[in-house]
Symmetry: C2
Subunit: 206 residues, 2 copies
Amino acid sequence: MRSKGARNARFDERRAELLDRLRARLTQRGAMRPTLRELAMSAECSVSTLNHYFGRRDDIVMAVFEDSGQRGQGQFQVTRKAGPEFENSIRDAVILSWTVMTRHGVAAMLAMGMVEGMRDDLLGPAFIDTMFEPFVIALAERLDTHVARGQMRDVDTRMAALALASPLLLGALHQGELGGAKAYPLDGEAFVDHVVQGFVRAYRAD
Amino acid sequence: MRSKGARNARFDERRAELLDRLRARLTQRGAMRPTLRELAMSAECSVSTLNHYFGRRDDIVMAVFEDSGQRGQGQFQVTRKAGPEFENSIRDAVILSWTVMTRHGVAAMLAMGMVEGMRDDLLGPAFIDTMFEPFVIALAERLDTHVARGQMRDVDTRMAALALASPLLLGALHQGELGGAKAYPLDGEAFVDHVVQGFVRAYRAD
């Protein structure tokens, strides 16, 4: 007879394995918004297995959001801690954000969250809560430190964080997930630099 | 016997009528990404009627994108023409953009465009081309005038337009289409003001 702990460990392991396949299917190019049946096919299990491990389709999507938020914790921690100097600190946070979005698949996850969450009363707020706000809050904390040190103007740092994060997110989605790179290419490095320069001019203490 | 002109007028009229219903269905809260069959049901016609008037599902979505771009022409025209003074001109363009998004249903259309276009090689670029870039290009033209007059720094105005438009778009989507207003409310008027102030500080000529 296996102990409860061993059974739970087996459950968690199997669930994590399914989660990997579900995440891959939910971000599959050319086939977004899969049905529950399509999710089960990609996870190589039955619909009732998915129901057992997660619940309904909404629960599956929310589990993938949660997991994605967990995977972001490292980036959020780094983003939270301000560097010593204002401009370099902004640049470091921006480059980290741009890099994880465009090179480590985070833009695809954010695109998926928006596709699932738009105009949906359950999944929209869940996306905001687990995937979007944790980054904005971490960035606002970094900015709070700069305000406290007198390096940045005393503004609403939540709004400033949104103003800084938005062009990065939209730039990454525009070029990659929406395929804008072909007809309307954007030099990523120059754009990151443009956003940093603009932000520093707008917010550095006089 | 009816003339070819009369037949074409009837075709266009019927197509426009279907387009209205299709647009409503494509942005329906809680039921985004409708199937072709669902689109036909909402348009109160058969799938083969939709095929006759538009083509395949992708063609229907692109027809709605085009129509939405056409409806935006008035806003794009106004956005293109700079006002006499830099700060007021930026404020006017920002308020117009925020108002059409949050009060005249444009955020819902942009959300729909992103839901249909993300990670889709055909619909992503079509969304960018018909709905997203026309606004960014118009805004960049407004900024070009301010640069030419010496009111604004001589920067890449396309990047500056993206930097200005992005927080507005994301703010509107966050609050409305993603339901962030409940747990993470944003004072729209204060946010618009914050974005304008930040932009003017960052870009006005020294």
